[in-house]
Each structure stands twice: as structure tokens, then as C-alpha cells.
Amino acid sequence: MDFFKILTPIIYWLSAIIWTYIFVFYIRKLNSSKAVDSFLRILLIILAIDAFRTLFESFYFGAWFTSLSGIIPIDIYDFLAQPQIVFIPKFITLITSILVLFIIIKKWLPKETSRIETFNSLVEEKTKRIEADKEKYKSEAKSSNEIAEHYRKVTLNSPFPIMIHTEDGEVLLLNNSWKEITGYSFEEINTISKWTEKAYGKKSQNIKEYIDKLYQIDKSVREGEFTITTKSGNKVIWDFSSAPLDRLSDGRRMVISTAMDVTDKKLAEEKNIISEIRYGNLIKSIPLPLVLIDKIGNVNYVNNYFTETFGYTIEDIPSINKWFTTAYPDPEYRKLVLENWNYYMKNSHFNKESSKTLEFDIKCKSGELRTVIISREIGEDEIIVTFVDITDRKKAEQEIINLNANLEKSVEDRTRELDKKALRLGKSQQALTYLLEDVNDIKKQLQTSNIKLVEVNKELEAFSYSVSHDLKAPLRAVIGFSQILNEDYAPLLGDDPKRYIGLIKDNAENMGVLINDLLNFSRMGRTKLQKSKLDLKVIAQRVKGELLLDIKDRNIHIDILEMNMVKADENLVYHVMLNLMSNAVKFTSKTKDALVEVGSINKENEIIYYVKDNGVGFNMKYAGRIFDVFQRLHTAEEFPGTGIGLSLVQRIIHKHEGRIWVESELNVGTTFFFTL
């Protein structure tokens, strides 16, 4: 009997739990189906009330019997067993039953009646509707057949490839488009596996899972682009979409797959991408500052040249308005620029031409002003603006203008100067003309003088010829007969007569020498210089040879040194050397160890020739007279000579436009210097 003691409370508690759950369920359902069915709500309320009663009792008697069993203190039983307490659950039972009854009478039954009424009218309506529907269905069936047929036609002829297949891979329908593009016949691809193999070259996956998902989502799903190999081996690209369709009568689910042939689109896309890249490259390669603006006025792109030239990056000028305010700080100027821009924007739409290219002055980021030519091109959705920096060109142009202005001014000045000069020149020319006339007169005079001179020369020539002949002849007679006299009658003559005869002879001989010298002197003076390159050493040696006769008995050295070549008249120079050297020889006749030296001294711009001797010399105070005609510094007894030799030498030297001078010291020596 202990077993049931414990069992009874357990049962009660279990019931309590279950009924609590049931009660909560009713309440929840009540809340959720507020608007749905009023009848259901009434039922739920009743049930809930009843559940509540049972619940309460279970808890009450659960506690009662648990206490009785001894698990919990018996005090609780004692409390609960009191008649006034037991009354509570019993009372609740009564109340709940009254409540339920009340609800049944007040809510249920009226509802039921009305419900029945409503139900009846509903049934009537429904019947009526069914009848109408029947009719409609009849006609609809007809038209639905038509429609079905229509849909079938639509499907078949749709320009998009359409396939209807079952979940197990049976292809139910392939429209014409599908068959045409792929080239396969229905038989070739009447299963999904056949299709995947032919089109993709691989085995088909299990499509059931996919179809499950599709049905779950219950709407069209885009599968994406697939490359399909057609029967002819070409590749086409299809964009697939699938959607769940109905079930077949045998329960299999159907799927409709449609495709869009995007082969061309894809090609076009590729081409587009390439041309976009090319376009991008082109833009990048343009070697001018360039800006891309969209039609709204946002700046999409500025190239490197732009930033390099003006200093602004795309961050500096994100919109065209910002550009205008930044680049054209002067409001007046900006107004003009804007007008130009707006004009362009309006009118280029009509004729699609690029705008007139004008020059603008832009303020760069650095503050510098640059002059540019702006050209704009309207593209499809962008405007391409390019700038040509002509600042340098403008500067150069300005410089040219300045230069030109300067040039004009200098040309003016110069012209004025030239005019003045021309005037002066004119006057000088006049003077020159007069001068020329005078010169011509003088020339004529000179010519006549020249002719006269030539005549005079000829006369002189004839004169000397006569002189030489005519003077010498009597001289010869005088000398000759004196000699004969001497020879024939010497023994008969005394000393004095002999001496006289000797004197006559000597003087006559003297005269002969004088005449010769004079003749030479005059001849030398008259002849024209015939200059040739001469080696003075050679000439001096020739002279030395000539003098050999005179010096063979004497103790004398004649040294001839190396001398430079000189351009002079050979004959005349020979006479010079002959004269000077014979003088040197003559005046060293009284010197014990006679030495004659002939050489030259090189100075910066001339050569000085000399003939040096260590002979008797003379006092330099007479040096001036030594070159005079017939001047002698010694007597004929001391040294023979006419005194004409040096004058002749001087004449010859002067004829060569040279100089001659002498240095001497008594009893030391003499040196004659000359230049040619």
C-alpha cells in the first residue's frame, strides 16, 4: 500500500505539468488566431478554462497527496484538508463549469445558429458560384486549351532558347531557338545527361538537389553564363536562368530553363574593353595637358602633363566650377570665360563641332600666369579638353614685336645717319672728281716729264758714250807718246826732262782713271735695278779673285763669312763689294798682318752687311765727307784713288733703298756697314 501512496502524488503532479502545458498552448493559439475564426476562439476559451480548472486541481491534490505520503511536511495536508480550503478547488470547478455553460449559451449557440445561416447562404453562394465557375471552366477549358496551345507556340517560337525538363533528367520540350542555335535535334539531347555531355563535354551532375532548392525558393534563378559547343563545333555563350514549373501528373517536378545567347554581347564586350583600354592608352599618350569632364561638370581625369604644366591635381579641381574659380581669379575675366564655355556647351550639341579655339590666361598653382589655347571635344559621355601652352610662343612673339620696334627705330636712326653720310659722300665725291681731274693733269704732266726724262737719259747715254770715246782718245795719245819719248830718248834726256815726261804720263793716266770712274758713276746711276736673289758670299769671293793679283805678294787674309741671300742688282752689288773690298785691301797695305773680313749681322728686321779691315783707319770727324764725290781723306802718295769709289757705292746702296755708314779708328781699322 506504500507504493500507491507515492504513486498518487506523482500522477497528480504529472497531470499538473501536462495540463499546464495544454493551458499555455490554448492561450497561445488564442492569441495567434485573433482574427481568423471566431468559432475557434470560443472553443479555445472554453478549453482553456477547463484546462485551468484541471490544472489547479492537479496542483492542489498533488500537494495534498505528497504531504500525505510524507515527502513533504504533513502540515501542508493539514492545511489543505481543512474544509474551507478544500472548498477552493471545488468552487473553482463550479465556477468554471458555469462559465463554460454561459459561454456556450451566449456565444456558441447564437453563433452556431447564425453560423448555420451564414453557412447555408454561403453554401448557396458557393453552389451558385460553382455553377458559374463550371460554366467558366467549361469555356476556360476551351480557351485554356487555346491558351495552352498559344503558350506552346510562344514557347516554341520564342527567340530565347527554352528547355523544359523533369527533375529526373527527361527533357520534355526544346524550343526551336534551342535546337537551331545548338544544332542538335530533339533526339540527340532528349536527356539532361546527353545535353551536358554534348554541350559541355562532361558528365552531368545530380540535379535533384538543385531542383529541390529551386522549388524551395520558388522563383526564377539566374545560373550564369556557360560556354556551349554546338553540333558544328562552334562555341556560343548562353546566359541561363531556371525556374520551377508545375508537377507533372505523375508527380515529377518540372523545371523551365531559358537562355540568352550572349555570344555577340560577349564579343562586343571584349571589343569594348579593348577599345576602352585603347582609348585609355590614347588619352594617356596625348602629350598635351588634358582633362576629362563628364556632362554634369565633374572632373573625371587630369593627365600628368596637366599637373606638370599648371600644377593642379585632380584633388585641386574636382569640378569644373572649382577650375573656373581657381584658374581665373579675376571675376570679370572669369565671366568672359564662362560665357565662352556656356556658348560652346549650347552650340556644340547642334553641330557636334569642336569649339572655336581661343587664347586664355590661366593662373597656375604656383601663381604664374600661362597663356593657353583650349580645345574641347564632346565625346559620348565625356568632354575632352586639351590645352596647348603657348606662353613661350607668346613671349617670343612679344620679343619679336619688341625687337621689331627696336629694329625699326635703329633702321630709322641708321637711315638718317646714312643720309648724312651719303650727303658727305656726295661732297667728297665731288671733291674727288676735281682731284681726279687734277691727278689726270698731273699724270699727263708726268707722262710728258717721263718722256722728257727718257729722252734726257738717252742724251746722257750718248753723251757718256762720246765722252768715253772722245776723251780717252787724246788721253791715249798723250800717254802713248810720252812713253815713246821715254823709251826712245831716255838716254839722251837729263833727270828733269825725264821727270817731266813721267809727270805728264802719270797725270794723263790719272785723268783716264777719273774719266772711267765718272763714266761708271754716271752709268750706275742711270741703270734700272735688276733685282735677283744673290748670295753675297759668292760675289765677295768673285771680287776676292779679282783682287788676287794685287794681294799675291802681301801677307793678307780675306775672310768671307756666310751671309744671307738678298734680292739686289747683281752687277751693282758686285761693284759695291769690289769697291769696298779693294778699299780694305788698299788701306791695309801698310798693315803688317792685314785682315779683311766680310760678313753680315742679323738684326730683328734687317740684315747689316759689313766689310771690315784693320788698316790705317781715319778720324771719325771726317766720316761725313767720305762719301762725297772726289773727296779723299788721304793724299795720292799715301794711298792711290780718285775718291769717287765710295760715292758710287753710296749711290748704289741708296738706289737699293738701303743705308750705308762707317765706323773707324785711326790706326785700328775701318768697318763699312750697309743694308740692302
Binding site: H469, R476, A477, I479, G480, Q483, G512
Partner: protein, 145 residues
């Protein structure tokens, strides 16, 4: 008319005397023909006029010629002598006081065989004449035709 060995054409008497004395002194010339005038000289040479009787073929061994002569000049005579076939082989010695180059040139151009300038000094003169005579009369071989 006999042709002398030496024909001396000179107008100056003094010079003639001196020359003859020189020649005689050295025993050079035995037969000397002296003509004092150019025109006469030409007559003698070409056996004309007063000398027409002379045998032109008989040529003197040498002709001593002074350039300064009256009437016909020495150079002229020289020219005649040297251009005539009959006389051009006769040696001609110009003996003159002129040392003028142009006289020399012209004489040599005309074919003179020798050109001697008369020195003033008598001794030299004498020696020169003697040498001349010696050479042309005794040493040189004339062409006798």
C-alpha cells in the same frame, strides 16, 4: 795691187802711230794696209772704186776695225763684212776705246771674232796690239780660198 796681210781701219792718227810702233816693235806685221775712212774701207774690202783692181779673192789675214769712223760707222762695216759670202770668213778684231755694252753686244751679234778695248796706258796698249798681231797673223790659220 797687192793685198796686205793686215787691214787696219782707224781714223785717229795718234792711235795709228802708236799701233804701228807696237806692231813693229814686236816684229809682227810686215804688210799693213791702213785706211782712215769707212767708205774707203768698204771700197777696199769689196774691191770697188779706187781699189777696183784689187783681187777680192785675195783676203787679208785679219782686219783691225775701230768702231768710231767717219762717214760709215765701224759696226756698219762689220755688218757688211760678215754678211757677204766673199768676206765673212775674214777674222775681224774690233779695236776700240768703247766699252759700251751695246757696242759689244752688237759686234758679237754680227759675228766679230774678237773685241779689244784700247787701254789708256800705253804699255798695256802696246802689249795688247802685239798679242793681237802675234795671234792673228802668226798663230791663227786663216782660210785661204
Amino acid at each position: 795691187m797687192e793685198t796686205k796681210e793686215l787691214l787696219y781701219i782707224e781714223d785717229n792718227l795718234n792711235d795709228i802711230e802708236l799701233t804701228l810702233r807696237a806692231l813693229k816693235k814686236h816684229n809682227v806685221a810686215n804688210s799693213i794696209q791702213i785706211i782712215k775712212d769707212g767708205e774707203e774701207a768698204l771700197e777696199y774690202i769689196f774691191a770697188k772704186g779706187r781699189y777696183a783692181e784689187r783681187n777680192i779673192k785675195d783676203k787679208p789675214k785679219v782686219i783691225l776695225l775701230d768702231l768710231k769712223l767717219p762717214k760709215v760707222g765701224g759696226l756698219e762695216i762689220l755688218k757688211e763684212l760678215k754678211t757677204d759670202e766673199r768676206t765673212k770668213t775674214i777674222p775681224v778684231v774690233v779695236l776700240t776705246s768703247s766699252r759700251e755694252e751695246k757696242d759689244m753686244i752688237e759686234s758679237y751679234d754680227l759675228g766679230v771674232n774678237s773685241y779689244v778695248v784700247k787701254p789708256i796706258n800705253f804699255d798695256s796698249f802696246s802689249e795688247a796690239v802685239a798679242a793681237l798681231g802675234l795671234f792673228w797673223l802668226l798663230v791663227n790659220e786663216p782660210l785661204q780660198k
